[in-house]
């Protein structure tokens, strides 16, 4: 920490010598061959990672888009792909996706916060076991249980209800996610016990304790489980596929492959669908970018 704070001063007094050691490769901050090389490489990297997106977006707005004639800007701008998408029911799929993502994320975060509060702020018998179960669900990939899960969704044990074909068939299974319970409880553990004790002396009950004392201190962790949870739900593919009764139940991501296999649908409509599926994750990412980075690095150090 002290290293980084003394850094700018050192850089100002001795620009060439010290800033060369700011990066592992020793990139020079001054114009020269070193910088030119870096700029060229950066442009190359930009092309590789960003241009495909531009091509897709341009294709979605192009009158006659085709994979063999792709450009970075639409040659003849049009919205007709999106109108055609409406006829293919894409907006319905998008609505499915949004309902599933919103409901699933809300449920997942609520469940995680409650469970984490119990697991991290309380002591009770069987706590270690409960935490172990949470970690197990982290390790238990949802793909692996896809087949029995589809059977369970078709006939809930004890209740005898079939969830298939309803959005609940996707929302409920994504509601439990070990990762987000784990992140949340790790964070809650760090909150000093005194804060809670002081509030308890004032006669604060459990719910108020959680919502007015603990949760406001957990904003960073909420951001992390928010964006990771959203990405997890939005990325679901197998689950909506097996939870659907008929194609109209599909989420947008699943519907894309249906569209592709439909020969009456042109590539322009498919691209419009892809753009529609991209926009929500893009928005969430732009708003919660810091949380994303924080979550990744925390995950890396915690293992």
């Amino acid at each position: 920490m002290s290293q980084t704070t003394t850094r700018p001063a050192a850089r100002k007094s001795q620009p060439s010598a010290s800033s060369r050691f700011d990066s592992a490769l020793g990139w020079s901050p001054r114009f020269g061959t070193n910088m030119a090389l870096r700029i060229i490489l950066c442009i190359l990297v930009f092309c590789i990672f960003a241009l495909p997106f531009m091509a897709i977006i341009s294709g979605a707005f192009d009158r006659n888009s085709s994979p063999t004639d792709i450009s970075l800007l639409p040659k003849s701008f049009t919205l007709q792909n999106f109108e055609a998408a409406q006829q293919q029911g894409l907006w319905g799929y998008l609505l499915n996706s949004l309902v599933v993502a919103g409901g699933g994320l809300l449920l997942q975060m609520t469940v995680s916060v409650f469970a984490a509060y119990s697991l991290s702020r309380k002591k009770f018998r069987g706590q270690a076991f409960a935490m172990l179960l949470v970690l197990m669900t982290m390790m238990l990939p949802e793909e692996v249980i896809a087949i029995p899960l589809s059977l369970v969704l078709g006939d809930l044990p004890l209740l005898g209800v079939s969830l298939r074909g309803s959005v609940l068939a996707v929302i409920l299974p994504v509601g439990i996610w070990g990762f987000s319970i784990f992140i949340m409880s790790e964070f809650m553990k760090e909150i000093p016990a005194e804060i809670e004790e002081a509030a308890r002396l004032d006669g604060v009950g459990e719910f108020r304790m959680l919502f007015t004392i603990i949760l406001p201190l957990c904003k960073p962790a909420l951001g992390v489980i928010g964006i990771f949870g959203f990405m997890m739900v939005w990325d679901q593919y197998l689950l909506p596929l097996i939870a659907a009764n008929d194609p109209s139940d599909y989420t947008l991501t699943v519907a894309l492959s249906v569209l592709r296999n439909d020969t009456t649908v042109g590539p322009g409509v498919l691209l419009a669908g892809a753009v529609m599926a991209m926009i929500p994750s893009l928005l969430v990412y732009l708003f919660l970018q810091r949380s994303m980075i924080r979550g990744i690095t925390a995950g890396a150090t915690k293992g």
């Binding site: 930009f46 063999t68 044990p157 016990a193 459990e206 492959s257 991209m278």
Partner: protein, 316 residues
């Protein structure tokens, strides 16, 4: 797992709260216990219904010949024998491992190069890093559709056009039995490398800058600096991330399913797509469940094994 987290609280309590804590706990004990379990109920119910019952059910089904209307017949380990002697499953296993290893290593190397290139405080670098991260946040199904278009196999397809500029023959990509698996691996690297970049960048900021300076004074080359200062500093975080990514790749499904569906001619069939087609398209639920249980066992063993190794290393 349970010992370390309670430490800070334990350290704080004895000084002042040793006597008061028990009495207070007694007073609100009933309420407290109720609250604890009340808060755990949603997670427990959902976990039971959508994780544990399916898991137990999967293990049960794997021992049966499942027939929808005729009733299930117990067959012992026949389904497992079927899976392990099935040539297509063994092919799928090979593809899974090749895909997993190439994606994991590729994403790590590319992520490392990206991190080295884009390390720095400048705002332009930050913008570039943000842009590059887009493939990670985009849903895999969408990434798949994007690459299906880029890989369009005619000579005037987007990537083949670029290959043409540098004088290479057009490739079949996803349509060729030799190239399809590698094409999928490239997509995995493309969408995974920026994630690793972020991890490595975080590691890079932790490297002591004075080490670079003294290495510079000693006349070390850039390569030596990387080899002896940067890499050792990054090792701990990379190792764990690598193993977890490798384990996760065992169950990759979406990208393969979207890009090739296992084709052409089964050349990209992985464990999960084989399982899916058996279980959902051919309704051979018993055998598919056996395959799932095998995947689960391998995943658990690898996860526990790496955690164990990592912990032992940390203790040493």
């Amino acid at each position: 797992m349970t010992v370390t987290p309670t430490k800070p609280a334990d350290l704080l309590v004895p000084a002042k709260g040793a006597k008061t804590a028990p009495s207070r706990r007694k007073r609100i004990n009933g309420k407290q216990v109720l609250a604890i379990w009340l808060f755990l109920v949603p997670a427990a119910v959902l976990g039971l219904y959508f994780k544990f019952i399916p898991m137990v059910e999967g293990i049960r089904l794997s021992l049966f010949k499942v027939q929808p209307f005729l009733g299930d017949v117990f067959v012992g380990f026949d389904n497992y024998v079927n899976v392990l002697t099935d040539a297509r499953f063994m092919d799928a296993l090979g593809h899974t491992v090749v895909l997993g290893v190439s994606q994991t290593l590729g994403a790590l190397v590319v992520g490392f190069v990206l991190a080295l290139l884009l390390e720095g405080q400048a705002r332009s670098l930050w913008v570039l890093r943000t842009t590059i991260f887009l493939p990670v946040v985009t849903a895999l199904a969408v990434v798949g559709e994007i690459w299906r278009i880029l890989y369009f196999p005619t000579a005037d397809g987007p990537l083949n056009t670029i290959l043409g500029w540098v004088g290479l023959e057009p490739l079949q990509f996803l349509n060729g039995t030799d190239t399809a698996l590698w094409s999928i691996a490239v997509v995995g690297i493309w969408s995974g490398a920026p994630y690793n970049m972020v991890i490595i960048l975080a590691g890079l900021t932790g490297v002591d800058r004075t080490l670079y300076e003294s290495a510079g004074v000693d006349g070390a080359t850039v390569w030596q600096r990387l080899r002896y200062i940067t890499l050792p500093a990054l090792r701990p975080s990379i190792v764990i991330v690598l193993t977890l990514a490798a384990i996760r790749s065992l169950r990759s499904f979406t990208e393969v399913y979207v890009l090739t569906g296992g084709g052409p001619a089964g050349s990209t069939e992985v464990w999960m797509t084989r399982m899916y087609s058996l279980g959902f398209q051919r309704n051979d639920v018993g055998v598919a469940s056996a395959a799932a249980v095998l995947l689960l066992v391998v995943t658990l063993l690898l996860t526990v094994g790496t955690q164990f190794l990592a912990r032992r290393k940390a203790e040493r």
